[in-house]
Symmetry: C2
DNA sequence: ATTATATTTGCCAATATCTGTCAAGACAAT
DNA sequence: ATTGTCTTGACAGATATTGGCAAATATAAT
C-alpha cells in the first residue's frame, strides 16, 4: 500500500537527484529499506525523520505529519467505527492542551 | 495509563455484579488479564470485543469505538504534529467512502 | 487481628512483530 | 549482453506483546 510519506520522500529524493543507494548511505541503512519505505512496505523509524528531513532539505514538521498520518490511517483502515473514534480522539486531544 | 475502554468495561462489569474472575472465565483468559485491561495496562484483542459486548450486554459499536479511540490516542500521545495528522486522516477517510 | 475473598503487580516464557541485510530478479538504457 | 538502478522475498536477530502464574496488596466480614 502506498503511503503519503513514502511518496513525498521519493519526490524529494528525485528532486535532489539522489539515488536510493546514496540516500541509503546517508541514512546508514541498506538500499532496499529506502525502496520499501518509499513504496509503503516499511515504516521509517520515527527517530530518523529529523535526519531524513535534513538530508532532503525538507520541513521536519511536514514529514512528521505525513508519517503520523500514515500510521493513523493504517490503524483505522477498514474499521467500521473509524469516524467516531477519530472524532473522539480529536476532541480529547484538544482538551489535553 | 487509564483508558476509556478499560474504564467502561469496569463500569459495565460491576453493574452486572460480575467478578474479575467470572468475566475472565467467560472470556477464557486469566483474571489478571482482565484486571490489566480495565486498568489500561493491556489491550484487549480486537476480535474479543464482540464476545465481551455480548457478555456485558453492551453495544458492540460503542466498545469498538472506545477501543479504537484508545489505540489512536496512544499513538498520537505526545506527538507534536498530532493535530495536523488527525485532520489529514479525517479528511482522507471521508474521501475513501 | 484473623480470615476469606477480590484485585493488582511483577515476572517469565512463548509468540508475534519489526528491522536490517543479503541475494536474486525486474527494468531501462546503451 | 552489460551496466546501473530499483524491487522483492527470504532470512536472522532484535524488540515488543501476550498470557499465565504466583506473590503482594487491598477489601470486607466476623
Amino acid at each position: 500500500m502506498l503511503t503519503q510519506f513514502g511518496e513525498r520522500i521519493r519526490e524529494l529524493r528525485t528532486k535532489q537527484n539522489l539515488l536510493l543507494r546514496q540516500l541509503a548511505s546517508l541514512l546508514d541503512v541498506d538500499t532496499s529499506i529506502i525502496s520499501k519505505i518509499e513504496r509503503g512496505d516499511r515504516q521509517l523509524k520515527k527517530e530518523q525523520i529529523p535526519l531524513l528531513a535534513q538530508i532532503l532539505k525538507a520541513d521536519v514538521e511536514e514529514l512528521q505529519t505525513l508519517w503520523l498520518a500514515d500510521q493513523l490511517y493504517n490503524m483505522i483502515q477498514g474499521e467500521p467505527m473509524a469516524d467516531e473514534a477519530l472524532k473522539s480522539v480529536t476532541k480529547k486531544i484538544k482538551k489535553d492542551k
